[in-house]
């Protein structure tokens, strides 16, 4: 029951006026940017990362939490009103939500999404607070071989589950791993693939890659498709409040969505898409009036939205306890930690308990703020959808490149950003997922050094990986996950888009 004490301490930190202000700013910024079409939580966090550079770690991580949840919330607003999901986790929300909006029930759709997200995030964050310390106790016993096995699982599952074919996912991962090689090797001092360019010696910044692939790549892709699309936001008609019937149809889907979302989000294969799709299918099967599905069934918004937010809290479990990012958003969050030289993992809980638990507590607070501030202000956020696309993308590009050169003022960095932008464009155009590249860049060097540490301890004997039951099991799972999609083509049903 230590975790309750720690959590109370965390609330004491998070409720300090300064930190409350950070949480509020984060929530507002996150929602504002998340509402913009085409911008999901990963990009929201990446774009807003530079703003937090000069703040103290505690405050800015709290702001992050707000940005993260705000971005998720904003994404569902776009999905419902514009039928352009800002993230693929809200693709399912758009199915029923946009239909509801077309039938003049946009208000209740937004409300059930918001309240469902709130309920789910509350339960799932409690789950995070409960399970994280247990996992930390387990993780401190992990040797380098176990970490290596864990990273193998993350590599394979992330690239096999994202994108339209395993070949494409693995290619994206390969690019990430290749970029991870660049720079001076920490163990031997050997330079890899830097070609004598001083800026490359320190390796490639995760945020530069993420912003390049997500923001620039997305902008280039959108402009290439712009001439062929037409979207107009729905006006919210009628009451925004849910009727008694809406409530009674919503609460069970919220709870079921949470039950599906949290555990799946916490798995290394993570992500929010599988749980949202599962929740949607489940609600459709369980619904009293299944014929309403496809024409604006409120259950189809309530369940997936809850699953979406619960899985977001679930993703934080491996991120905080093991330092293992399992989604694009988590990868960018990890970069956020690293800019303060904080390495998420079991040691973070030991060395910076106040910071970790302050962050967990602020997740609760960010959710309360989202509900209290955002539901009445939804009209204001919708106005953001009216920003003309030319200005919107002009602004996004200016802001994205600004973030990169503010963090690292050099032309080389800017050139890399632009290069990654075109890479992202090509990848998006030919249906390659971009998240595995980001995960590969982060985890590649980590896997490399864990493996070498393991081999140094065994005096070079690779069998050490199979002699420890933990790492042997995990390597087995990774191999299975790699081979399975090629053997069973039917598994493609579970393939997901990235967030």
């Amino acid at each position: 029951m230590d975790s309750i004490l720690y959590l109370l301490g965390g609330f004491a930190t998070a409720l300090e006026p300064m930190n409350l202000t950070f949480a509020a700013i984060g929530v507002m910024l996150g929602t504002a940017v998340g509402v913009l079409p085409g911008i999901g939580p990963a990009l929201t966090v990446a774009l807003l990362l530079p703003i937090t550079f000069k703040l103290d770690p505690g405050g800015s991580l709290i702001m992050f939490a707000g940005i993260y949840y705000g971005g998720m919330y904003g994404g569902s607003t776009t999905a419902i009103l514009l039928n352009t999901p800002g993230e693929s986790a809200s693709v399912v929300t758009a199915l029923e939500g946009n239909q509801m909006a077309k039938r003049g029930r946009g208000g209740p759709a937004l409300a059930t999404a918001a309240i469902g997200s709130f309920v789910a995030a509350l339960i799932a964050t409690a789950g995070l607070a409960f399970f994280a310390p247990i996992l930390v106790k387990l993780a401190v016993k992990f040797g380098p071989w176990d970490y290596f096995g864990l990273m193998l699982i993350a590599f394979i599952t992330v690239s096999a589950t994202f994108g339209s074919s395993p070949l494409r996912g693995l290619t994206s991962l390969g690019i990430g791993l290749w970029l991870g090689l660049v720079g001076i090797d920490q163990l031997t001092g050997q330079t890899r693939l830097a070609f004598g360019v001083p800026n490359l010696m320190d390796g490639i910044e995760v945020t530069t890659l993420a912003v390049g692939l997500f923001a620039l790549g997305e902008a280039l892709f959108v402009v290439s498709r712009h001439a062929f699309s037409d979207d107009a936001p729905m006006a919210i008609k009628g009451s925004i409040w849910m009727s008694r019937e809406d409530w009674s149809r919503s609460w069970r889907p919220w709870l079921r969505g949470t039950a599906v979302g949290f555990p799946i989000g916490a798995l290394p294969a993570g992500g929010a898409e599988i749980p949202t799709f599962l929740s949607y299918t489940m609600e459709r099967k369980l619904a009293k009036r299944p014929e309403e599905f496809g024409h604006g069934a409120i259950e189809g918004v309530a369940g997936p939205e809850a699953a979406n937010n619960a899985s977001a809290a679930g993703t934080l479990v491996p991120l905080l306890t093991l330092g293992l990012p399992t989604s694009a958003t988590a990868a960018v969050m990890l970069a956020g930690f690293q800019q303060y030289n904080l390495q998420p993992g079991p040691l973070l809980f030991v060395q910076h308990p106040a910071l970790v638990w302050g962050l967990v507590a602020s997740l609760f607070i960010a959710n309360v703020m989202l509900l209290v501030l955002n539901l009445p202000m939804v009209g204001l956020w919708v106005k953001l959808l009216k920003i003309p696309l030319p200005w919107l993308y002009g602004g996004i590009l200016v802001f994205a490149s600004m973030g990169t050169i503010a963090a690292n003022p050099s032309v080389v960095e800017l050139l890399m950003l632009v290069g990654f932008g075109f890479l992202g464009f090509v990848m998006r155009r030919y249906d390659y997922p971009v998240a595995p590249a980001v995960v590969g860049l982060i985890l590649g060097p980590m896997a490399d050094s864990q493996l070498r540490r393991a081999l140094q301890m065994s005096l070079g004997d690779p069998m050490i990986l199979l002699q420890h039951p933990g790492s042997a099991t995990m390597i087995g799972i990774a191999v299975l996950a790699l081979i399975a999609p090629f053997l069973f083509k039917g598994l493609s049903r579970f393939r997901q888009d990235e967030d």
């Binding site: 000069k54 090689l181 200005w391 002009g394 200016v398 800017l414 249906d431 070498r452």
Partner: protein, 156 residues
Amino acid sequence: MTSTQDAGLHRPTLIIGLALFALAMITFHDAWNMKIRASYGMGADAASYFVAGFLGLLAIGHLIAAFRPQPEADAADWAGVIWVSLGLAGLTLSVWLGGGFILGSTLLFVLTARAFGRKAILTDLLIGLALGLGIFLLFNKLLTLALPAGPLERLF
């Protein structure tokens, strides 16, 4: 990504495969020339060889896939892509040649807006200028981050 090409060679897949192969060769060459060796266990070159091999396998996968039916990419408006590219080039050149952040970001904003079909260049120029100035003041004065300075920035 709707229609599927029936038969024949899928050129983008082939090109991506060749690019991956080139990347694998560069990585292999780089690893080959590494001087520092680890006393026991793996050296820094092992990971490079692994990635080179992995990319090589992916290249082979692409070469095989190029002869199978692949989803055809959607039509693209290349003029828009070129306008955005010009904007990004504008920003890069401005920072490179000491034109500063505000000038560069204004160029980027105007050219991106043009890419999305805006014709009112003067309005966009003013908006871009205001945006760049606002960001510069926020970051350099409030958050004390150093954005590249040019003649415009030195006025403040």
